[in-house]
Symmetry: C2
Subunit: 423 residues, 2 copies
C-alpha cells in the first residue's frame, strides 16, 4: 500500500462513511490532496430509515449505496473496505488489520452503537438497531414471533410470542413501536388462521419523564396520544431492570416477551480510546470549535463520535449535525492548505426535528413552527427522500411508501435464515 514517503500531495484519511465522513470527503474532493476513506462496510447507510427495514417496509439495499460508487467521479478519493484497529496520533498513522497508512490530516467519523447501561449481556436478548444486520435480525425476530405464536398451543407462551417491548422512547423507539403496531393491526391482519395478530401487545418503555425527550412537550403529547390510539402502551418513568430470553422486568413487574428491542443510550466507537484523550460519559471525544482534538491540530472528530459544545450544550447525535460538520470541515482544511485565514468555527444550524408515528402521521418542529399529523408526515417524507442518496433508491423508496400508504402491504416481509457461521 502506498506510503506517505512517496506522496507529493497531502494525504487526508477519513474513517467512517456515514453522514459525517461522506460529506467531509465530498467537501474536500476539489482540493489538490489525496483522500482515503475507510469503512468496514462497502456502503453508506441512511440510518434514519433503518427502522423501516427492521419492520419489513423497506429492503436493506433501498437505504444503502456503495461508498465507492457515490464517490466514483472524484479520482483523488480512494475507498477501502477495512477495519481500523488503532490510531497512532503521535506517529500520524492508522493501523488496519492488514496494513497501515500515514496521514497528514485524520478525520474520525466512526459513529456510535447502543449502550446497555453496564449490562452487555442484555444485547443477546434485546437487539438494537444501528446496522443492516441489526435490522434484518430484528425483522426476523418480529416476523418469526407471529409464526411461532401460530404454532403455539399454550396460551401463555402464545401471548409471550405476541408481546413486543421497545426500550427507549426517542425517535427510533417511537417509530419502531408505531411500525410494529401497524404490522400487527393491519399488514398481517388476514394472514393467520389460529391467532389474531391484533392481539399483540406493544409496549414502549422510557426511563425519562416522557417520550421524545428532545422535542417540545406539545409534540410529545401528540405522539403519545397517537401511539395509544394505534394500540401501543406507552410507559414513561419506567426503568428496565432485567432482560432475559423470556422477557423483561420493568419496575418490579415481569412481562413475558420473546421480542425485546433496544433503542436506549448510545456509546461512541471504541476506536476513539486509542487517541489517548479523555472521553465523555458517552465515549465521545471533546472537540475544539474547529472540530479538532485537543493537542492534535490535524485530527478531527465528527458526528456521533464528537462532543461538540454549542452555547454550553453538547450537540445531539443527529444526521443533520454530522452532515453540517462534514461539510464545514472541508472549509477549515481548505483554508489551512491555502495558508489563508482560518475558516470560522463550526456552528450547527438547527433546521428542525421530526419523528413519524405510523403512516400518515409525524410530529415536526421547524424553527418555531410545530405540527403533528398528516402535514408533518408529508414534510417528513419530503425531507427523507431529499436526503436519500441516489436516484434509484429515491424512486424505489417512494414507490414502496406509496404502495404501503394505499394497501398497508409491506413487501419485505421475508424471514431470512441465519447464514451458517462459516459462510
Amino acid at each position: 500500500m502506498k506510503k506517505s514517503a512517496a506522496m507529493t500531495q497531502k494525504r487526508v484519511v477519513i474513517i467512517g462513511g456515514g453522514f459525517a465522513g461522506l460529506n467531509a470527503a465530498k467537501s474536500l474532493a476539489s482540493l489538490p490532496i489525496e483522500i482515503t476513506l475507510i469503512d468496514r462496510n462497502n456502503y453508506h447507510l441512511f440510518q434514519p430509515l433503518l427502522y423501516q427495514v427492521a419492520t419489513a417496509g423497506l429492503s436493506s439495499v433501498d437505504i444503502a449505496r456503495p461508498i465507492r460508487h457515490i464517490l466514483k467521479k472524484h479520482r483523488n478519493i480512494e475507498v477501502l473496505m477495512a477495519d481500523v484497529e488503532r490510531i497512532d496520533p503521535a506517529g500520524k498513522k492508522i493501523h488496519m488489520k492488514e496494513d497501515d497508512l500515514d496521514f497528514d490530516y485524520l478525520i474520525l467519523a466512526p459513529g456510535s452503537h447502543y449502550n446497555y447501561f453496564k449490562h452487555p449481556e442484555w444485547a443477546k436478548d434485546a437487539p438494537s438497531l444501528k446496522t443492516i444486520p441489526d435490522a434484518l435480525k430484528i425483522r426476523r425476530k418480529v416476523l418469526t414471533a407471529f409464526e411461532r405464536a401460530e404454532m403455539e398451543e399454550n396460551p401463555d407462551l402464545r401471548q409471550a410470542c405476541l408481546n413486543f417491548v421497545v426500550v427507549g422512547g426517542g425517535p427510533t423507539g417511537v417509530e419502531l413501536a408505531g411500525s410494529i403496531a401497524e404490522l400487527a393491526h393491519h399488514t398481517l391482519s388476514e394472514d393467520f388462521r389460529r391467532i389474531n395478530p391484533a392481539s399483540a401487545r406493544i409496549l414502549l418503555v422510557e426511563a425519562g419523564p416522557r417520550i421524545l425527550g428532545p422535542f417540545d412537550e406539545f409534540l410529545a403529547d401528540k405522539a403519545r396520544v397517537r401511539l395509544q390510539s394505534m394500540g401501543v402502551e406507552v410507559l414513561e418513568k419506567k426503568m428496565v431492570e432485567d432482560v432475559s430470553s423470556r422477557g423483561v422486568r420493568i419496575d418490579g413487574e415481569f412481562i413475558p416477551s420473546d421480542t425485546v428491542l433496544w433503542c436506549a443510550g448510545v456509546l461512541a466507537s471504541p476506536l476513539l480510546t486509542s487517541l489517548g484523550v479523555e472521553l465523555d460519559r458517552g465515549g465521545r471525544v471533546p472537540v475544539n470549535p474547529d472540530l479538532s482534538v485537543k493537542d492534535h491540530r490535524d485530527i478531527f472528530v465528527l458526528g456521533d463520535a464528537a462532543q461538540f459544545l454549542q452555547d454550553g450544550q453538547a450537540l445531539p447525535g443527529l444526521a443533520p449535525v454530522a452532515i453540517q460538520q462534514g461539510r464545514h470541515l472541508g472549509k477549515i482544511i481548505a483554508s489551512r492548505l491555502k495558508g489563508e485565514a482560518e475558516a470560522p468555527p463550526f456552528r450547527y444550524f438547527d433546521k428542525g426535528s421530526m419523528a413519524t408515528v405510523g403512516k400518515g402521521f409525524a410530529v415536526a418542529k421547524v424553527r418555531k413552527w410545530e405540527t403533528a399529523g398528516f402535514r408533518g408526515w408529508l414534510l417528513w417524507v419530503f425531507v427523507h427522500i431529499m436526503y436519500l442518496v441516489g436516484f434509484q433508491n429515491r424512486a424505489m423508496v417512494l414507490f414502496q411508501w406509496a404502495w404501503q400508504y394505499f394497501s398497508f402491504d409491506r413487501g419485505a416481509r421475508v424471514i431470512t435464515q441465519d447464514l451458517p457461521p462459516d459462510s
Copy 2:
C-alpha cells in the same frame, strides 16, 4: 394442533411452498377440504431470478412473497412455517420438529438442492445457488473479491481475487457468468483506484459436450459466442477435479480463484427417503401418471422431487413443469373427492425454454421458433414479469431492470456482513 379425529373434512397436507406446492394449494382451494401448507421459509421464492440477487441486480425481497399473504383469501388454507422431519406413509402422518399432523392426502413438493458429486466438502468453498441465503452469500463473495483485490499488493494473489469460476453450463451457470462479466466490465468499471475490474477472468466450466445441453445446438452456439464477446471463457468437456479455498483444478490445470460458484447437478430433498420407496439417481421419487407414489395412492410428489416419465423421458426440473403439475393435481384430487371419473393423467405441455446472457440478449425456443438476441430478451423479460407473484414485486423488478438497462448501475451492491451465529 388439530388432529384429524376432530375433522369433518378431508385434510390435504402440502409440503413445500415453491411453484409446485403453491399451485397445488391454489388449485385445491375451492374444494371443501382443509389444506395445510408447510414450508421451512415464510416465503415463496421466484427461483429463476435468484442469480440476479446473487449478482446485485435485484434485492432478495423483490423475488420473494410471504406464502400466507399469497394465500390469505383462501380461508381453508393454513400455512405453517416449520421443518418436516419425517413422513409416515402407512400411518398417514407427517412429523415436524414440534408436532405431527395427520393427512388424508399428502402432496410432496420439497424441491432439490445442488449435488457435489460425492464431494460434499466442496460446498464450503464453492457455494451453490438455491436459496436466498445462498444468493446473499454469493453476492458477498463476488463483491468482496473486488474489495480484497483493491487491498492486495501481491499481483498473483490479486489475480486470484479477480478469477471467477462458475461450474455448470446450464441456464443458471450461463446467466450467472454473464452477469458477473457485466459487473466487472461495466457496473464496477469506475469504482476502483488500484485495480481495473475489467482484468477479471470469468470461466464457465461444463463437463458435458457443450453449454445449455437441453437447448438446440444452434442456440447454444449463439450463447457461447455472446458469452465470449462479453469476456467469459467458456470451457466445455472439462471436468472439475478438485475445489479448495485457493482455487479449482480443471483437467489437471490448477486455476487460483477466491470465487468458485457451483451450478452443476441436482439432488432432490432428503425428506423423500422417509417414504420408503426406491429413488432414482437424483434422489427423486418415480411417480405414476397421476403423480402418485407407487403403492401410496394418496401421496403425490411434484416438481423437482418427482421423476415423471413422459414419452420415455424424465421431465426436467423446471418451473413450468412444477406449475403445471401443481395445477393438474387439483383436478385429480377433485375428481376423487367428488367420486367422479378420474381426471386424465398428467401431461407436460412444453411452451419453450429460454436463458439470458447478460442484458439485452437471450436465447429462446418457443415451439419450433428459435431466437437469439434482443427479441429473445424482450420475451424473457415479459415471461418472467408475468410469472412473478405480486404486483409490487413486478413493478419493483421492472423498474430496476429498466434502470439497469440504461445505466448499468446495480442498486443491490451492498455487502452484508454475516450475522453472528447466536442471532
